[in-house]
């Protein structure tokens, strides 16, 4: 069974990049939804109950850190991975302290993203990054 993923980023461009990486990971991931701001992310999370959320930090309306907190209230076991840009160390630290499991840093590389995800999702198959 592929891991069901919700992709959250205000830039469609970034969402496409993540989606591209995940759908090309040998069927291990399935994108079940997308959201472009924190509020939408919370709503989509409730609706879809994904196994993994990739969460942008800086977004309009509600940022990724608040959205992470809210989602963890809904489901304390939610697996949220922050998508950060360089130079956002403080925000990532805050996100992790808020309960996010890990982070990936833009610009994304397929190998890197899959490595991080594989390590926090035991079911995703270890070390078998797509070529």
């Amino acid at each position: 069974m592929p891991i069901r993923v919700l992709v959250v980023d205000d830039a469609m461009f970034m969402r496409s990049m993540i989606k591209d990486i995940l759908v090309n990971a040998g069927g291990r991931y399935e994108i079940v939804g997308e959201a472009s701001n924190g509020r939408e992310a919370i709503a989509r999370f409730r609706e879809l109950n994904p196994q993994l959320v990739t969460m942008d930090i800086v977004m309009p309306q509600l940022d990724g850190i608040e959205a992470t907190r809210e989602i963890l209230k809904v489901d304390p076991a939610a697996v949220i991975v922050m998508c950060s840009a360089m130079g956002q160390e403080a925000l990532v630290v805050e996100s992790i302290s808020a309960g996010a499991k890990d982070f990936i840093v833009k610009p994304f590389t397929s190998e890197r993203v899959l490595q991080v995800l594989a390590k926090i999702l035991p079911g995703a198959g270890r070390g078998s990054a797509a070529p």
Binding site: F13, I42, A43, S97, P107, K119
Partner: protein, 697 residues
């Protein structure tokens, strides 16, 4: 397997962000921004930075990064923007735009290092990569002050001390010293260290860490992390758990004899448990994220309901797909006409009824797509403003641009096609139209030149006017140049009305001539402007008054591609005349036509109507005798009424407008071509330009 067009997406989304930025910066120059707006500015820069980095455009990413840092400080009140700051940010935004343009054109990116340096110079805390921390981590990664002057430690300690007493180090489990080296070059090593701490927490209790969380969160972490953990997990096992985490280069776990073993570094402090969220938030003092109390009344209280509605209320569609949709609908409309003809149903019959319903649906569909393609003029205003700023700056002139009616919408493709011509026009105004400051003072004009762009809806058309308060153009001088350059005979030149003489600047090659003699003070690329406007189904009119200014008026169809037209037979061919250009059709009796000042006219109501034979004009024989009666299409050019005589009006039909290919596009009397039901091609006649051609011939 999908392979999205990342570059295309990148370009269009980056442009949206840059334009959002430009609009906000323009507003900031007029009045102080709300905090939310500053945050939006920050967010735009942030998004551009991330996207550019993802696409490996480091110069662009670096420039956006510098902007982001400055905007961050501005948002948090650490810097107050001066007009110079805004000017600098505007220049940076313009440069980003130029970089995107270069990316789109596959050319080399212009650098932004100098602007970047200037922006960095405005940041009071030039600490490299780290924006000023605003995290709500309980360890109190705090304000810039908490970092400066070594007070970080105490500031960090304060918040927690009250909230949560030091965790008592009386855990009965063995103490382990975990020594971890983060892989050099790992992104955000501090954040990585925090993730590691969280993982370790799953296996025990973190008693001490070194360096402090403050250091980890502010980007000054060297990559070596030491943690004292109370845990019953075997050291080897813990070592392999930690060693398997991303970006961990090496990990060593050993029993720690006493707390002091792990305290070699002066920067050490105890790992803090997390405080309750409300407390953390108020400590952090980050508005928007912090005020838990305000939340009940804030936007969030509207809750998920709103979020869900937003999630499904808009989608993004590539314009190309919209074009396909419109093309398809155009074909559908033609199919309907073919069907109608093939079935030729009796009025009132079931077939007629079905066809009618089909027709209504297709029309509704067409209107829907046309409306979807509409964009407000405001969407291109930032680019025009940028063009004016650039040119005015380069030419050392002070120019105010005032744009009115920006809510008027046009088809997306029309808007895009008009950007170039509008930039041409603005360049002419600034370069040639507007006088230099001293000259303006001498003639008693305000030192700042003024350019106004005005949009209005007029019936089915959109009127776009660009005017300046510059030196204007002299029709007499233009006539003289045309004669000198042997473009017109003296007689013909003198017969031109002032309005027609002004149009001389749109003749290819004329502009260069006038430029060298510098009489008109205008004209670069005006031929291009006119051609583009015509191609879009519009007309260009130039008005000017010497010493007062020049005004260019363009009327454009708001939507494109499908139009209704009269199909007419003339000169042995079939021509289409857009219904929107025609006020009426009527039968002309030859004996009602009289000669007057070399033209054939007739009286229709109060109007004196000039009769022009379409066939005669096209075949070059304007004076060909009229048949006894013939149908004519009535239209106006300015205030004058014309009747275009044809052999036969075949009917009124929707046509799909196809642009003419070179060199036919050079013929102004044709607005395009349409493919008819039987596969024949009909040229689409533009009556206004046809009239001009006829009068100049």
């Amino acid at each position: 397997m999908e392979s999205p067009d990342f570059l295309g997406l990148f370009i269009s989304e980056a442009r949206e962000h840059i334009e959002g930025q430009a609009a906000l910066l323009a507003r900031a120059r007029a009045s102080a921004l709300e905090r939310e707006e500053i945050h939006d500015l920050f967010r735009h820069a942030h998004s551009i930075k991330g996207m550019a980095a993802a696409m490996s455009f480091p110069r662009m990413s670096a420039l956006a990064h510098a902007m982001e840092d400055l905007l961050h400080l501005w948002r948090d009140g650490a810097v107050t923007p001066t007009p110079e700051t805004l000017e600098l940010l505007t220049r940076a935004s313009d440069r980003l735009s130029a970089q995107v343009d270069a990316i789109a054109a596959h050319s080399d990116l212009p650098g932004g290092e100098e602007i970047e340096r200037q922006i960095r110079a405005l940041c009071p805390d030039p600490m490299g990569d780290a924006p000023v921390a605003s995290t709500a981590w309980p360890g109190g990664v705090g304000s810039p002050e908490s970092r400066a002057g070594g007070r970080g430690e105490s500031a960090a300690g304060q918040g927690e001390a009250g909230a949560n007493p030091m965790p008592t180090p009386d855990d009965p489990r063995p103490r382990l010293l975990v020594d971890i080296a983060i892989r050099p070059g790992a992104p955000l090593p501090g954040a990585r260290a925090v993730v590691i701490l969280k993982r370790l927490e799953e296996h025990g209790r973190v008693l001490e860490i070194s360096p402090s969380l403050h250091v980890l969160a502010t980007g000054h972490f060297s990559g070596r992390l030491r943690v004292v953990l109370a845990s019953s997990v075997a050291p080897d096992r813990l070592g392999s758990i930690a060693g398997d985490l991303p970006d961990v280069a090496a990990c060593h776990v050993a029993p720690a004899a006493s707390p002091d073993d792990a305290t070699a570094e002066d920067d050490r402090r105890l790992m803090q448990r997390r405080a309750p969220p409300d407390r953390r938030a108020s400590e952090a003092g980050v508005p928007g994220r912090a005020n838990e109390e305000g939340r009940g009344a804030g936007p969030e209280s509207t809750g998920e309901g709103v979020g869900r509605a937003e999630a499904i209320s808009t989608i993004r569609v590539a314009t190309e797909r919209m074009d396909h949709l419109l093309d398809g609908i155009g074909e559908l409309i033609l199919d309907r006409e073919r069907l109608k003809r093939a079935l030729a149903p009796e009025p009132g019959s079931r077939e007629a009824e079905i066809l009618e319903g089909f027709g209504r649906t297709v029309d509704a569909l067409r209107d829907e797509v046309m409306t979807m393609r509409l964009l407000p003029f405001s969407s291109i205003v930032p680019r025009l403003e940028r063009a004016v700023r650039d040119l005015a700056g380069r030419l050392g002139k002070d120019v105010d641009l005032d744009v009115r009616g920006t809510e008027v919408s046009l088809d997306r493709s029309t808007l895009e096609e008009m950007i170039d011509p509008l930039q041409h026009i603005l360049r002419n105004s600034i370069d040639h139209g507007l006088e230099a400051v001293e000259e303006r003072r001498t003639v008693g004009k305000p030192a700042r030149g003024r350019i106004e762009i005005e949009l209005s809806r007029r019936d089915e058309r959109v009127c776009l006017a660009v005017s300046d308060d510059g030196r204007g153009m002299d029709p007499q001088a233009l006539r003289r140049v045309a004669v000198e350059r042997r473009m017109l005979s003296r007689e013909l030149a003198m017969r031109l009305s002032d309005e027609e003489a002004l149009m001389l600047v749109t003749i290819p090659g004329f502009s260069t001539a006038t430029r060298t003699t510098d009489i008109s003070g205008r004209g670069v690329g005006m031929d291009v402007v006119r051609m583009r406007v015509q191609k879009l189904g519009g007309h260009l009119i130039i008005r000017s008054q010497v010493g007062v200014g020049t005004r260019l008026e363009m009327d454009l169809p708001p939507t494109v591609t499908v139009t209704r037209a009269f199909l007419c037979r003339a000169a042995g061919g079939i021509f289409a005349v857009p219904v929107s250009a025609v006020q009426a059709t009527f039968q002309v009796r030859r004996d009602s036509v009289q000669a007057s000042q070399g033209e054939r006219v007739l009286r229709r109501g109060d109007d004196l109507v000039t009769v022009l034979p379409l066939g005669g004009i096209l075949s070059g024989d304007r004076a060909a005798p009229f048949p006894d009666t013939f149908p004519a299409l009535v239209y106006h050019v300015g205030h004058r009424a014309y009747a275009l005589g044809v052999d036969e009006i075949l009917g009124e039909e929707p046509i799909v407008v196809k642009p003419l290919r070179h060199p036919l596009e050079l013929l102004p009397q044709y607005a395009g071509a349409a493919i008819l039901n039987d596969g024949q091609i009909a040229l689409i006649v533009d009556p206004v330009n046809l009239t001009r051609t006829a009068r100049q011939a």
